[in-house]
């Protein structure tokens, strides 16, 4: 789950990391008031879940509250990479002496969180790591033991930072590491972490992402402190009708799991496929052999006839879909006969001939003999495990293109 900058700022603040006195505003009037309260020059930043704000004109500087209001007005109406802003952040224009970088991410190989620190803040950390590796400090953290300040100190000192900046930055990085772990983040980044002309440190910009699997147990933070609504899921794109309908069918029945996605797909061959790895393999197999999938889907965990039928119907009703291919890797849990019943039912309910509509049925495994009997009755072409997933996908593609397999 992604957070807006103003929310990330709040999270950092809750963890006890100093931030500037900022205001989150949704109107020009609020921005005027916030700038007035700050007093002096301000920065107006678009609150949007997209990078490249600066380039798109989503960050502007103002000397007076009037100017701040003007900029806010414009930024609030500015779409950035297809996203409308949720508001603007009004921030004092800080007198920065030096910019640093601090973050915590997962190191999947070490299976531990990894702290990163650099005295070259404000720019892309991957670039710094490539061009100035001695300016990036790294430190792995335990998942079981409390995080001590010295671990942060070691990471910072590795970049050559010493004196007052070392002592000021140490508790900030340690707190960032604790919040990363406590709040199940997958990314907790402060960039830049600024040393102001008076020697104090503040987080000028923060970027946070929380693991989706942990959203359920972080309700105190999400609902109480950040006031994020339950249905505000922050998907990378707006779900389509197809995606919404499939999700609703899945939620209506606890037996088995179905999923459907069509973002980025616009072909004529509907895919009713499974399970996780099988769906990835089959989507590739269709595309590699010249087929054009209309969607991606997953069937797993032995769904009911109604669920399999529901998914097949949604796929069949998509614009441009001429036939469906029903394919899975060898199943041990999902029953072949139940999926067969479901997809045939879908065809019949839509007034289509299953034998014509189902280009191929390739699901070998549990209850396959029963399944094949049903498919036979309706004249659907099916195959067992002696026909590979690759070959089955190829037959479906050949059929829809009207060429003999």
């Amino acid at each position: 789950m992604r957070f807006y900058e103003y929310e990330a700022r709040k999270i950092v603040e809750l963890a006890g990391i100093p931030v500037t006195k900022y205001g989150f505003c949704t109107t020009a009037e609020e921005a005027h008031k916030a700038a007035e309260e700050i007093g002096g020059p301000t920065v107006i930043k678009s609150q949007v879940l997209s990078g490249g704000r600066m380039k798109a004109g989503g960050v502007k500087f103002a000397d007076t509250p009037e100017e701040a209001a003007e900029h806010a007005e414009a930024i609030l109406r500015l779409e950035i990479n297809g996203h409308m802003p949720r508001g603007v952040l009004v921030d004092p224009k800080a007198e920065v002496k030096q910019e640093y970088y601090a973050s915590v991410v997962w190191d999947g190989t070490a299976k531990r969180p990894l702290m990163l620190f650099s005295d070259m803040g404000g720019i892309d950390i991957e670039e710094v790591a490539e061009t100035h590796p001695d300016h990036v400090g790294r430190g792995h953290l335990s998942n079981l033991f409390p995080i001590s300040d010295f671990e942060a100190k070691q990471t910072i000192a590795a970049t050559g930072v010493t004196g007052s900046p070392l002592n000021r930055a140490t508790p900030i990085l340690a707190k960032l590491a604790r919040l990363f772990r406590d709040y199940d983040m997958t990314l907790a980044e402060i960039n830049p972490l600024a040393e102001l002309t008076d020697g104090s440190f503040v987080a000028l910009d923060a970027h946070m992402e929380m693991e989706n699997e942990a959203v359920g147990r972080q309700k105190a933070l999400l609902r109480k402190h950040l006031e994020i609504a339950e249905d505000d899921t922050r998907e990378t794109y707006e779900p389509s009708d197809f995606e919404r309908n499939v999700a609703a069918i899945d939620a209506a029945d606890h037996r088995g799991v179905i999923q459907g996605k069509d973002h980025g797909f616009e072909g004529n061959l509907g895919l009713v496929i499974g399970a996780g790895g099988g769906s990835l393999t089959l989507t590739d197999a269709v595309r590699s052999q010249g087929g054009k999938p209309a969607n991606y889907s997953e069937i797993g965990g032995n769904p009911s006839v109604a669920k399999a039928c529901g998914l097949a119907k949604e796929v069949l009703e998509k614009d441009g879909v001429e036939k469906i291919a029903v394919m899975m890797s060898i199943v041990s849990n999902t029953r072949v006969d139940i999926v067969a019943r479901g997809v045939i039912k879908a065809c019949l309910e839509l007034g289509k001939d299953p034998g014509e509509t189902i280009a191929i049925f390739r699901i070998p495994g549990a209850w396959e003999d029963e399944g094949f009997k049903i498919l036979n009755r309706y004249g659907v072409e099916y195959c067992d495990r002696s026909v590979s997933m690759w070959e089955a996908a190829g037959r479906a593609v050949a059929k829809i293109q009207g060429t003999p397999a």
């Binding site: 999947g108 299976k111 147990r217 990378t236 990835l280 989507t283 690759w390």
Partner: protein
């Protein structure tokens, strides 16, 4: 020979009274595995297919009268960490975590404790492992008669990020007359207990294993880690890899996850194209399609034998 399991391996099932766990217990017993107990808090005194159910792992160990080798954990995500820590602290050394949707922090905690206690975790989000005609630990391959159809004993070790594809690939090896030494569904999450590279030393030491097949997907650094391991250890085992999810390289798919939680392209290194290049650099053959795998393996084993 085989890795991690033998005819004598004993294990329990944590969460044994759940619907899926009851099926899994039946399947394992039918296959000849030694399921010596089950745990579901509050259900002590019951039986599942003749397997006694206990409230705690300690009770199961006491009832068995000696150390138990393994545990298959199939409890809801919110309780998984506690169940796994309980298993580890009661001396269990091989833990298969079936549960999916466990936050990474919990997985990392379980893995760290397992390292400290000398235990090994397979999964989460996996179907377990199987040594054909010897032992099946988890739902891998399904009911005993189906598992027998897909898994015949042979010289190929299989490791896969997808449970279903473990069986699909093993079945292709079995049909081609090759067969499998040990097949492991390693799990589809971003952080898992045992990666390809971490399991390679076991296969390397196993006389039966003459080649390895891996099934892999976009996301993460696990394949890069395997490539590094192969380069550093001068392995005797030829490896054939199959990469699914090439369509995820498309620009529109960036940041989306398909199939498994760990399958998401975040950085440049995560893409299928990039991974295939790395595997190839390490001398690992990448098969375009699954039907090629048995042929490639036969060639490789033949080439080694004639050296």
């Amino acid at each position: 020979m085989s890795i991690l399991l033998s005819k004598e391996t004993t294990f329990i099932v944590q969460g044994i009274t759940g619907r899926e766990a009851v099926n899994l217990t039946r399947e394992c017993l039918d296959y000849g595995s030694k399921v010596v107990g089950g745990v579901t808090p509050g259900r002590k005194g019951r039986e599942v297919h003749g397997v006694p159910v206990f409230d705690t792992v300690a009770q199961a160990v006491e009832n068995y009268g000696g150390p138990i080798d393994g545990s298959v954990v199939t409890v809801p995500p919110a309780f998984t960490k506690d169940a796994v820590l309980e298993a580890i602290e009661n001396g269990i050394k091989l833990i298969v975590i079936v549960t999916e949707r466990i936050p990474r922090r919990d997985v990392a905690q379980m893995v760290e404790l397992a390292e400290m206690r000398g235990a090994r975790i397979i999964g989460p989000n996996c179907l377990g492992l199987i040594v054909p005609e010897v032992c099946k630990m988890g739902g891998i391959g399904g009911p005993a008669k189906d598992a027998a159809k897909a898994y015949a004993p042979g010289p190929v070790g299989v490791m896969s990020r997808s449970g279903g594809m473990t069986t699909e690939i093993s079945s292709s090896l079995t049909q081609a007359g090759l067969g499998v030494s040990t097949a492991i569904s390693i799990g589809g999450d971003a952080i898992i207990g045992s990666t390809y590279a971490e399991l390679m030393p076991y296969f390397e030491a196993d006389e039966q294993t003459q080649a390895i097949v891996i099934y892999t997907e976009p996301g993460g650094r696990m394949e890069a880690q395997l490539s590094e391991w192969v380069a550093e250890n001068n392995s005797r085992l030829p490896i054939v890899a199959f990469m699914a999810g090439k369509f995820m390289d498309d620009e529109e798919m960036k940041g989306m996850s398909f199939g498994h939680a760990g399958t998401i392209v975040e950085g440049k290194e995560d893409t299928a194209t990039e991974k295939i290049a790395r595997l190839a650099e390490a001398g690992i053959t990448v098969a375009e399609e699954i039907p090629q795998i048995p042929e490639l393996i036969k060639e490789k084993i033949g080439a080694r034998a004639s050296v």
